[in-house]
């Protein structure tokens, strides 16, 4: 088995916010009927997470479930655990209409951190999403686009945001965030 490497190999940069790739993150796409209690139970038996609320995140001991759409969840776990989670979920969900895929190596994850409203400031330049704190609160998943590519954004706190995008556009998103956080380019909107 070849050694896994992340999209931009852990690159980081500093402007008026710090941009860093999160490295290897385990991610599993789970699709099914989120309103079905059998589905919820099967997912809980493997991840020990309840189902997240609409656009929310549910955290277990080591895993997190992100709400991606009315029938889709993204399981975030340790990179080396992802394949085992897929096996366990497939077994637990057998007999139900479902889809479970390990997408760990098909996604790139970035963290943007900074003080005050700097993070929202840097992100708002490259996405049409309304990033005002009362609209996009902490712990809410917002799927949108960043410049020309799809991405999911979540504020872990006012000082840090996590971005998940396709691996094939990882370099693009990293460069975009670096350019957007160039010192002196603050807009001062928030």
């Amino acid at each position: 088995m070849s050694e896994a490497v992340s999209a931009v190999q852990g690159a980081s940069a500093s402007g008026f916010v710090d941009v860093a790739e999160a490295g290897l993150v385990g991610m599993v796409t789970i699709r099914g009927d989120l309103g079905d209690s059998d589905f919820a139970h099967a997912v809980w038996s493997v991840t020990h997470c309840g189902l997240p609320k609409k656009r929310g995140i549910a955290a277990g001991e080591s895993d997190q479930l992100l709400w991606m759409s009315p029938d889709e969840l993204l399981l975030v776990c340790a990179h080396e655990e992802a394949e085992a989670r897929v096996q366990a979920l497939s077994a637990a969900l057998s007999g139900q209409h479902h889809l479970v895929v390990n997408v760990s190596d098909a996604r790139a994850v970035f963290r943007v951190s900074g003080s005050g409203s700097a993070v929202r400031e840097a992100m708002a330049k490259v996405t049409p999403a309304d990033l005002r704190p009362r609209i996009l609160g902490v712990g809410e998943v917002r799927r949108t686009r960043m410049a020309q590519v799809p991405a999911a954004i979540c504020f872990d706190g006012e000082d840090q945001a996590t971005i998940v995008c396709f691996r094939s556009v990882g370099t693009y998103v990293f460069d975009l965030l670096v350019r957007s956080s160039k010192p002196g380019s603050e807009v001062g909107h928030f």
Binding site: P70, E72, P150
Partner: protein
């Protein structure tokens, strides 16, 4: 700029996060239908100045199709609703009537 609220994920999306899917509530006339019905289904579209019903897809988000009722002249959005209906729900029609009394669109009013 047009902002539509996706009825599935509840997000207020900018039109650049969406994909326009053309006119809503078309009845499909396929094999075995009359030429007139097939022509109507395939080619004839409303192009109103005012109240219009459209299909949109939340392509940069949850990926779901939905319906929107809006005014093509003012860009006012009267409401968005599920894709799994054959005609606009009562509350959307009432919202349109409140703003545009006497509106007509195909055989709806």
């Amino acid at each position: 700029m047009l902002i539509l609220k996706c009825p599935y994920c509840g997000v207020a999306c900018d039109e650049t996060e969406l994909h326009a899917g053309g006119e809503a509530h078309l009845t499909r006339h396929g094999p075995g239908s009359s030429d007139a019905d097939f022509e109507e289904y395939l080619f004839m579209r409303e192009n109103p100045r005012g109240v219009h019903f459209e299909r949109w897809r939340h392509v940069y988000g949850c990926g779901k199709w939905f319906h929107a009722a809006r005014d093509t002249a003012t860009l006012e959005v009267f409401g968005t609703y599920s894709a799994q209906v054959a005609e606009p729900p009562k509350d959307v029609r009432a919202a349109i009537t409140a703003k545009v009394p006497g509106w007509r669109w195909r055989d709806l009013s």
